[in-house]
Subunit: 331 residues, 2 copies
DNA sequence: TCTAATTTGTGCGTATGTATG
DNA sequence: GCATACATACGCACAAATTAG
């Protein structure tokens, strides 16, 4: 930033000229990582601008990760990479195989000039809160999976609501945020209904469900479906290791699925005849294993694409990402 | 506290830099319990600070119980127990199912007071470079997967080498960094050797290998093994869709594995008799699918635990994480 | 210990031009 | 022509953090 005439009354808005000027200074090496920028007041005086105009320019550079601010000290060059136009903060619950498709679809649909940073809260409220508060103002968009945590809206309201997007699980407290979510209760009910011809032979319905990590809606849908039809049903946290004839398992965690399949081999029980299995979340291997596992699953690639599309078109809405039943030999 | 440059005009407030410097000195043993700190005026002169800036740093350390002040004498180290919340920067190549075990083991072994942030470079050198440079100075440790990228040491040398740990793939240029790595060439050779009794019936050896994403060592090990034994072998980027009797596939990408298994069903070819399959990287489902897939695999949980242990014990070394052959019905 | 200067962060009010319907 | 929304630009006031004297 050298001459006064850097900011003129041309067609370009003043704050954009200022951004351009700083980008140019970084590109030709006048500003390097760690360098201090002139203070808001200094820039305001030098270029005869309003303080808020300078602030707007600096804020945009900040959300692109190019500069950072420290209260009481000043603005500093954080990154010399000025090609990144958008930065997206993604907060997932935990790392697992399903996140792969979701993340790849999201990243792919957003384009190469967008930087996607990913974090995990591991169902820990404090971690959830700290990560969001530590990173507010540093990103253009916030894509968040509140999962089954409570009181997350209080934290998320600290972010500008038009920058916030919710993934996968959306509660009442999130009504004012854009979202792509699963309707777990409905999906379980309709999924089980569609499978009815194949499930009638099973007499004991067992849902393997972990309250701390898994969506309540699945449990509610299961209970509602079973009680309406007066089925014998129970809910267990974990597969207990022994299969009984005519049991039907609804399995969320793949470790339980594997344990069941192993028990089937050991006990010489045929999955799909003696014992039924419905697994949540489809993966390619489930198409093959044991001649196919029946799944109820949403399409995570579509979910990622939809969210990316929402970000790109700025059309903020709440969309259900539908699940479907995929019938295979395990029923 | 050794050099003047400990306090610079960077983004960090000066009093925080001073606190950090004293914490570091305690952590690496330069300051021990009972040691006298330099006087306020001495520190002020040495680092060209205001007396109150030094006082602010000392007061905060005092309120945390790390130092104590005795009127008319000075400041003394009271406790070496600085419960600093550690921050670990983890840079992976891409998100996939194997990363789950690795990440969980690393995070679990480091403990709850450690924040682990994860990033992905997607085999893109520019992304690799920008992520490291943008996040230098912000973390206590840097755990990095250079994967098959070249000239990564140039970038990593910008970080303090005692804070850097390499995962999975380690090249000659990384000799001065601590590492937990796989010896892909050796692992493939010994794995194939151990499987020899079961592989002799196959006449065409095919490695499905993608140069851009996968470790060169695997290709080298395969070529060396096959040429030493004068086997008919070839390397393809992708499974071409049709199986021939007496082919043996070595598969790295699970999508290829699934495609092969599907072709087996369609073509009515029995995997493990007509066609052999060895898959890289074990997952629980591979124990089950098609009555078991033979794998050559390292234990990613162990890898994560070893790296965490190295960080916690400050024993910096280069360790091979062994792979082993797991024989199943697919041979 | 108190005061002061500088700096960022935030909220409120105002005004203008442009695009939309 | 009119109403509305949005982006741009300016001014002011106060809070909180940093640093110095």
């Amino acid at each position: 930033m050298t001459a006064k005439k850097l900011i003129d009354s041309s067609a370009q808005p003043k704050y954009k000229q200022l951004i351009q000027g700083i980008e140019d200074a970084i590109q030709n090496g006048d500003l390097k990582q760690g360098d201090k920028l002139p203070s808001l007041n200094a820039v305001k005086m030098r270029y005869q601008l309003s303080r808020d105009t300078v602030l707007m320019a600096f804020n945009q550079l900040k959300s692109r990760g190019i500069i950072e601010s420290i209260v009481g000290k000043g603005y500093y060059v954080k990154s010399e990479n000025i090609d990144v136009k958008k930065r997206v903060f993604v907060l997932f619950d935990e790392l697992n195989a399903f996140k792969e498709d979701l993340y790849n679809a999201l990243k792919g649909s957003l384009g190469a000039d967008t930087q996607v940073d990913i974090f995990f809260h591991h169902f820990n409220y404090q971690v959830f809160k700290d990560l969001i508060l530590d990173n507010q103002n540093s990103y253009n968009y916030y894509v968040i999976m509140p999962a089954n945590l409570d009181n997350t809206a209080v934290v998320m309201d600290r972010l500008p609501s038009e920058k916030v997007f919710i993934l996968d699980q959306c509660h009442e407290e999130h009504q004012h945020f854009a979202a792509v979510y699963q309707n777990f209760k409905k999906d379980v009910e309709t999924g089980l209904q569609q499978a009815e011809i194949h499930t009638s032979k099973y007499k004991e319905w067992i849902l393997l469900f972990d309250d701390t990590r898994q969506p309540k809606g699945i449990k509610e849908g299961f209970e509602s479906y079973c009680s309406q039809r007066k089925l014998n049903y129970s809910i267990q946290a974990k597969f207990e290791g022994i299969l009984q004839i005519s049991e039907l398992y609804i399995v969320l965690d793949d470790r339980d699925l594997i344990a069941i399949l192993k028990s089937g081999i050991e006990q010489q029980i045929v999955i799909g005849e003696d014992v039924g299995v419905i697994s949540y979340n489809d993966t390619p291997l489930k198409e093959i294993v044991n001649r196919g596992i029946t799944t109820i699953s949403t399409d995570f690639s579509v979910m990622g694409e939809r969210l990316a599309h929402m970000i790109l078109t700025k059309k903020r809405e709440q969309v259900e990402n539908p699940s479907r039943l995929i019938l295979r030999q395990s029923l």
